[in-house]
Amino acid sequence: MLMQRTTYADGARRAWPLAVAVGGFGLTYGVLARQAGFSELQTILFSLVTFAGSAQFAAVSIVGDGGTAVAAVAAALLLNARYLPIGLSIAPWLTGRPLTRAAQGQVTVDESWAVSHLGGGRYDPRLLVGAGVSIYVAWVLCSTVGVLAGSVLGNPETLGLDAAFPALFLALLAGQVRQRRLLLAALAGGAVALAMVPLVPPGVPIVAASVVCLAGLRTPREPGAVEPARLVEARP
């Protein structure tokens, strides 16, 4: 089974509505970080290095509420712990030197990861990088705009921007649950996370939901699945 060859531009094209949405969050993040007492430089540097919206929001809000640095870093890293298994899922499909592959890992966010998913656990690195870089540029640019224009924008909750986050993830999820067992995994993951919210600190419920995918150990081989090694050989 030979795949149609995709380009970085394909990734960017598929990502642009997401990049616009992420840009909106970047704007919000820039505003909130400044309100929480982060300097202009710290706010923009955080976006440049970390590139993970929900983790940055969590860390900034904890500091803004008077939380300790340790609590803020722990929350951010717990929220980002999913990038370890996400990295595992894309690793087989990446080529090049270790540093190149690590760089491809850096532009991996939920959105670019979802865009590059071809189904059945297969990922397209060109879609991943094309989408990831587009979203990264939008994230950093709009964080900067948020920092600069912060006082003009007002309260982001008034604009309903907090409700845009789950809507974005819902739209991504809708594109993924094409099979019954994937839908079941989503329902189970949501249920686990919801049940954990009162019991553990913010961020942990999302990590806890990943236990659901252990059910995949019993998955029979999918008819359409292609081994990564064969896919790489098939490329010109």
Partner: protein, 102 residues
């Protein structure tokens, strides 16, 4: 060093590691089939977890607030096969509008 600097540098360095570790060490190598089965379920499970926590969690409390109305609007938009941007705008305008009138 100030709290903000510890957060920016600590969370930043940790995230770079989390994102880069597996790609750097395991690139181009096929995962065992059973692990691929596990990975296929990871996306839906984590996305659903992100949806419910971003909608119903406020710290460690479960709440139903305008975000839930926003999610309902997003569900309708998804069911109507609306583009992603429309889904997001539906949710934001619903939640924002509800806050404006209450």
């Amino acid at each position: 060093m100030s709290t903000a600097w510890i957060v920016v540098l600590g969370a930043g360095a940790g995230t770079v590691l989390l994102k880069g570790l597996a790609p750097a060490t395991l690139g181009g190598r096929a995962l065992p089939r059973r692990l691929t089965g596990v990975m296929a379920l990871l996306g839906p499970a984590l996305l659903a977890a992100l949806i419910v926590t971003n909608t119903f969690a406020s710290g460690r409390e479960l709440t139903v607030d305008p975000r839930a109305a926003g999610l309902a609007a997003a569900l309708v938009a998804v069911a109507l096969r609306a583009p992603v941007l429309v889904v997001i705008l539906a949710a934001a305008s619903t939640a924002g509008g509800l806050r404006a009138v209450t």
